[in-house]
């Protein structure tokens, strides 16, 4: 890609990433949430890879990292949902944290936590799918 594309992507990618984080942490207040924000976050990585081209060895390393993050995030989500089961009430998916006042950023108990980890999960899994497709193409070219 040309210098123009590379420089613009460098400028934009950070903003896109920040916007993804914004959508995720305001998930319980505004439209969007873990899934939408996660897709936006993955978009920033994909932009960078598209603009700077793919280095095959580098990508396989990155793919194993993103798989690890994906599995860890989903495990944390499972753990959070089970925490209600362990908390004493024996209820799966219990929202046992204090609820706070409605409309504030830190409120709604467990929901922001679920959103954050679902966001990480979605971002890393979409990145993994993208990388898998790129790696597959590189492998067939050789």
């Amino acid at each position: 890609m040309t210098v123009i594309v590379k420089k613009t992507t460098q400028l934009i990618a950070g903003m896109v990433f920040l916007y993804g984080i914004y959508v995720i942490i305001h998930g319980h207040l505004t439209p969007g949430g873990g899934f939408a924000g996660g897709v936006v976050m993955a978009g920033s990585f994909i932009l960078l890879i598209l603009a700077f081209g793919s280095d095959f060895m580098h990508l396989t390393k990155e793919e194993s990292g993103s798989t690890l993050y994906e599995n860890l995030a989903i495990l944390v989500v499972v753990f959070l949902s089970v925490s209600g089961l362990l908390y004493g009430a024996r209820i799966f998916f219990l929202n046992w944290l204090p609820k706070g006042t409605a409309g504030e950023l830190v409120s709604a108990g467990m929901l922001p936590l679920y959103n954050i980890f679902v966001g990480i999960e979605v971002a890393s899994s979409i990145l993994t799918i993208f990388l898998a497709l790129v790696i597959f193409k590189e492998e067939t070219l050789e």
């Binding site: 194993s64 690890l68 495990l75 009430a89 024996r90 799966f92 219990l94």
Partner: protein
Amino acid sequence: MNPLIPLFVIIPLAGAFLIMIIGKFLSGFGRYFTSAILLSLVVFSIYSLFTGSGTLSLYKVGGWEPVNRIPIGIYMVMDGFTVIVLCIINIIGFLSAFYSISYIKRYTSENFYYALFCLMTAGMNGVVLSGDLFNIFVFMEISVIAAYALVAFGVEKNELEATFKYQVLGCLASFMILIGIGFIYWKAKTLNIADIKEVLSSGYDRTYYLVVQILILSGFGLKAAIIPFHAWLPDAHSSAPSPISAMLSGVLIKAVGIYVIIRLFFNMFELSENMSVLITTLGALSMVIGVFLAIGQWDIKRLLAYHSISQMGYVVLSVGAGMILVAQGEKPEIATLAIAGGIFHLVNHAVFKGLLFLNAGAIEYTIGTRDLKEMGGLAKQMPATSATSFIASMSISGIPPFNGFFSKLIIIIACVMAKFYLLAALAVLVSIITLASFLKFQRYAFYNKTDRGREKTIKEVPFPMLFSMVIMSLLCVLLSLLAIPDIRDTILGPAIDILMDPVKYSTQIIGI
């Protein structure tokens, strides 16, 4: 609330992701961990079968209580029928996972295999336990998407073609199911099965719900491979690795297909005679056509896959005959017998078809082919495989004293008592043709002389594979005990009660 209920979904789901993480650093972890997970689920399901199967227990996820007796949260329901299906899912799952310990060593990336295996089990347990339509859909997708990947696990040409066919038809089925669920939600304004029953009981638009019933029946019929929808099954079930074929044929088509059809048509929709006749006809068709397609096959796993269609025909036919009687409102004791026969055959089929696929896997593992014409004389080299497959073959063809005989006998007696003489005659005829095709399997695989000089190199399969096959053949013999009326009433009785009484399920759930 019974705290065991969510564990059936949580344990395999968490296990799948743990395998992916720990398996990266510790090779061989997934191999033993999957068996351990499924063994714990077997213990839980058998415990639930013997303690709480008479009563219906309910789990409200997130602790959301109903408002004005209208359920608003996600409900997980465990009743007599659920417990039986849970038992077969987890027992066959455990034996297949244990069998995989030696079988899957030949493939690369074992971790993916075991993680997908756990996901598939979690999805099936979820479908069976879920108390509302949308969660049935979600869990069904979890299990069938894992199944798509597992069918393609060998990544050869055949496997990819089979999985592509399976995916296209599976997506079509999911689409029809989702549209059907959407139509129900539009009119009934609720997704909870018990609540929909309540809404429908105060009058409904018959034409509208006929369309919905057809959509739901075609969708789940595609997943269950009833005859006009069976095209994907022979390819998919024969290309998958053998333990997965055992899971797909033994459990998946029942848990996401037959179970849901039975549950929705008995406990959610009002039983109508037209619909019951349609279901019975589909069952009879798949029973007859399936067996005629099977008898000409020379690939063992294809032969077994076609027999799955035929044997599921027995289950659908028998349950459908029960449905007709319930819809007519006469002879409840014969309807009970027909439904009991259907559920009994469902359990039996899981065991003997699972065992036959494991046998086919063992043959493929030792001599590396699935073509019957290239086998022969294996009985001397592989005595245990030969003996267990003999038991399974006799069981599926309905020879006493094995379990298949008793369930087919109950089905035929029920059909005769209900004066469905044609169905009874067809059931006997299909049983005879089944016997013929399994005698062919026995003769060509185990007894025929072979002219190849490879006798010395063939050995019996390793211990994990043997263990699973022997346990399943013991189950084949032991399950025939269910034919004794007292034992049948304690094990299958609660399941039949919940299906026979059209409002029992919904009133119990709304009442809690």
